[in-house]
């Protein structure tokens, strides 16, 4: 097997975040931040429910999905009980904080300050009738899929 030294290091990543649950948003944020820490150019493209992560009103209130989420190892009916999602969210936020991962809003500021760019998907913004002021000030722009591909040129695209 070829060793990793035979390959060129990754220079640039464009990460798509398409889910709006806490467990759907964090992996993409961690990968973007990790890329910047390694000196890799990074941008984030938020689409569909992923937009919740950059909406001022929603970003710090994301929930863990306890229904339809086999990773929770919880029977569907149990997951549907009132308060179950809130409970799972509270537990996960506590564990996330313990390993020094910031809440979503603070994490986005940190990622943006590291030089990564944040973009919202034009189609989703139009679909939900959202305005620029609904989003975190760190947002670098609302762009089309075509513009996303232009910006992603020469790098790797990661879909989450």
């Amino acid at each position: 097997m070829p060793s990793e030294t035979e390959f060129q290091p990754i220079q640039k990543v464009s990460i798509v975040i398409s889910k709006g649950s806490l467990d759907g948003v964090y992996p993409g944020l961690i990968m973007a931040n990790g890329a910047r820490m390694e000196g890799i150019e990074a941008s984030l493209f938020f689409t569909f429910f992923g937009l919740d992560a950059i909406l001022k009103k929603r970003m710090d209130n994301l929930k863990v999905a306890t229904v339809g989420n086999p990773g929770m190892h919880m029977p569907t009916l149990l997951g549907a009980l009132p308060g179950m999602s809130a409970f799972a969210t509270k537990m996960m936020k506590k564990e996330i904080e313990k390993i020094d991962i910031p809440p979503v809003g603070e994490f986005l500021t940190m990622i943006h300050d590291s030089g990564a760019e944040l973009y919202a998907c034009r189609a989703t913004v139009d679909m939900y009738h959202l305005k620029r002021e609904d989003f975190t000030p760190e947002l670098d722009g609302i762009i089309s899929v075509g513009q996303f591909y232009e910006k992603a040129a020469g790098g790797q695209i990661i879909f989450t």
Partner: protein
């Protein structure tokens, strides 16, 4: 174990090229490693980060996360990336004479 020659001294390094022994490090060696890494001049802000990282490492056995680093060293994220471009945690750890950080954040 591999070695590098810095300021005429032969020093042991690990697989990542970081100093293997904490005690081999001193400020002159840090300045020389920084210069070789494209940082010709270590400012007081660079030192604030390097000294803070060494302090945490000596106490806890691992380098701090970037979040903690920026909260506790008094240097914000933007400045940190300007001071150590192309991978702040990794490069600062190297210049501070510490192993590569293992955390994800």
């Amino acid at each position: 174990m591999a070695t590098v020659t810095i300021l005429g001294k032969e020093l042991a390094v690990d697989a990542d090229g970081n100093l293997a022994n904490l005690s081999d490090w001193n400020e002159d060696i840090a300045r020389e490693m920084a210069a070789q890494d494209g940082i010709p001049n270590l400012t007081s802000q660079h030192w604030a980060i390097l000294n803070y990282m060494r302090k945490v490492f000596e106490k806890e056995g691992s380098a701090p996360s970037i979040r903690r680093l920026t909260k506790e060293s008094g240097v914000d994220t933007k400045t940190l990336y300007q001071l150590f471009p192309k991978g702040p945690a990794k490069r600062a750890a190297k210049i501070a004479g510490l192993p590569k950080p293992v955390g994800c954040i």
